[in-house]
Symmetry: C2
Subunit: 325 residues, 2 copies
């Protein structure tokens, strides 16, 4: 998808305490020290962080919610409730998405496309995750104190909102590519990086072939949440296809936490991870002229615990948006 | 959203045994007598029905899957797995949606928009639900034999797929309107019709005001899954706003089952209900010239059982697509 009008993009990131203590801590717009964000439950807290991100991006763009034509958004919770309860407060037209951790790029792709096609003058996207609500839903209650596998990633407590506008300053969304489902037969829910790396490779290879660009033409080739295990696999898979990512590859899951000081095993994950990192790090770098072109592919593992328990493997996907300064 | 190119729409409906025995039984493309559709689990069966619907709509249009540019789809299951496992088999670019029972119209809206904007020559949408997988997830295991409330709706075992093309025969998708979240404070998960009727009224009133059309200008004003309780509320709410739906209103949930003979209490529901009924009944009526304009608003209740148990109310939404012959 080529966005001929190149919609302007702006982001706003809200993160939790642990994420605020990580290497990118000072770049996030808001750090919530309280994991409940003043609410009664972790699920409500996740919605609250999305609201802060949406309000924040509207304020940063100098507009009010009423000037936005629609919101695309999703999260990891069953029935995507973090998003629907957050967007409820805005009274804006809303198109709900489910793409697991790829929701951030899926929302950016659709919001940018809506603006580019002239269906909206301004469209927003939002994505989030919360360590506590995700653990409760996908793994074990926190009180259980379960051991985590070395390949497991840490679900980020974070929300990111983006605003795409027909008129505005750089960076711009110039093109995008929806992902295809790739399933290499992985069944280990504690090794999402391995399940998702082939999907990232599929989307990135298709993007480079269709656009005629090479990794070296990009300031950064960013993946959302492969973590350390998946990032190594991605480099191998891309090499096999003739693309050398070399020093251009950055993974949001590998960047969010300090590998030594904040032991999170295989890195960060969650729809909020790549949302917060792109909003607070990569889009501002493009805006300041420190980067020229950032290709962002957010990966998602589309299984459910139930289907994996029934013997199904983990389908993965990666949606891509290309931003330029 | 006005679709100036008016993408052509075609549908294919796959339903279960009970739906096949209902008043519309003979119109569905496929009736699966086996609730497992030859699979091992209900969740896998739901994916299988989606696959049959996608394959069916491609065959009906005389194309193969490789000629389709992307698929939009969603269902009611956690992590939308009915859709992701079904679409996995197609290798097509996929954008996952969550809109609960509104997923059918949400997918149609986005697929038609993708074609109209020129991002796709052909785009598909798919939606499904399955009584057994939905009961297990949202309510009680079937074996428990729980009593159903008189206001409860029966989740349809059904899948519908749609293909939108830049070139093709009538009917055409001519316009659409994304819904806003409306929450009137309903907390009774056994009365979705009451929770969703205000959302349907909000979208329909906005559509009629924006388009300048009246209900009398339409052959049918169709809602997806308000059932008997919600349909009565909708008529009242629309009357208050000055719109008389009179004999033009049809609800897919009220049409799918025989109210007397197949006691399903307040009618049918589920993302597959409105998908199957529009695919098998309304689009063919437009194609045959028996209807001229059908306004289809599919409603969804965006709560999760967890959030309702935490004391939250039920947010609802209704997405609208207008079809013409």
């Amino acid at each position: 998808m080529v966005f001929r009008s190149a919609p302007s993009a702006i982001g706003f990131a809200v993160v939790g305490k642990k994420e605020g203590e990580g290497p990118l801590g000072s770049r996030f717009d808001v750090v919530c020290p309280d994991p409940l964000a003043g609410e009664d439950t972790w699920e409500q807290a996740e919605s609250r962080m999305q609201q802060l991100a949406l309000d924040g991006v509207f304020a940063k763009a100098g507009i009010n919610a009423g000037q936005v034509d629609c919101v695309f958004g999703g999260d990891l919770l069953n029935q995507c409730t973090a998003t629907s309860y957050a967007v409820r407060e805005t009274s804006l037209p809303f198109l709900g998405l489910y793409g697991a951790c790829s929701a951030c790029a899926e929302g950016q792709l659709l919001a940018a496309a809506a603006v580019d096609a002239g269906f909206a003058e301004r469209a927003a996207s939002v994505a989030s995750s919360h360590f506590c609500s995700a653990e409760r839903q996908f793994r074990f209650p926190l009180e259980y104190g379960g051991q985590r596998a070395p390949t497991a990633q840490w679900t980020a407590t974070a929300a990111g909102a983006f605003l795409f506008s027909a008129h505005g300053k750089p960076p711009y969304a110039v093109s995008a590519l929806p992902g295809r489902i790739v399933d290499m037969g992985v069944t280990d829910m504690a090794n999402m990086g391995a399940a998702m790396a082939p999907a990232a490779a599929d989307t990135l290879c298709r993007f480079f072939r269709a656009s005629g660009l090479k990794p070296a033409d990009c300031s950064a080739v960013v993946t959302g949440d492969l973590g350390f295990v998946g990032s190594e696999l991605l480099a191998e898979l891309m090499n096999e296809e003739g693309f050398d990512l070399a020093d251009r590859h950055f993974d949001c899951g590998a960047m969010l936490y300090d590998r030594e000081r904040q032991d999170v095993h295989a890195g960060g994950s969650g729809a909020g991870c790549s949302a917060a990192v792109t909003a607070a790090h990569f889009l501002p770098a493009l805006a300041r002229g420190e980067a020229r072109r950032v290709v962002f592919a957010a990966t998602g593992a589309l299984m459910s615990p139930l289907r994996v328990n029934q013997g199904d493997t983990i389908p993965a996907i990666a949606h891509l948006v290309c931003f330029e300064g």
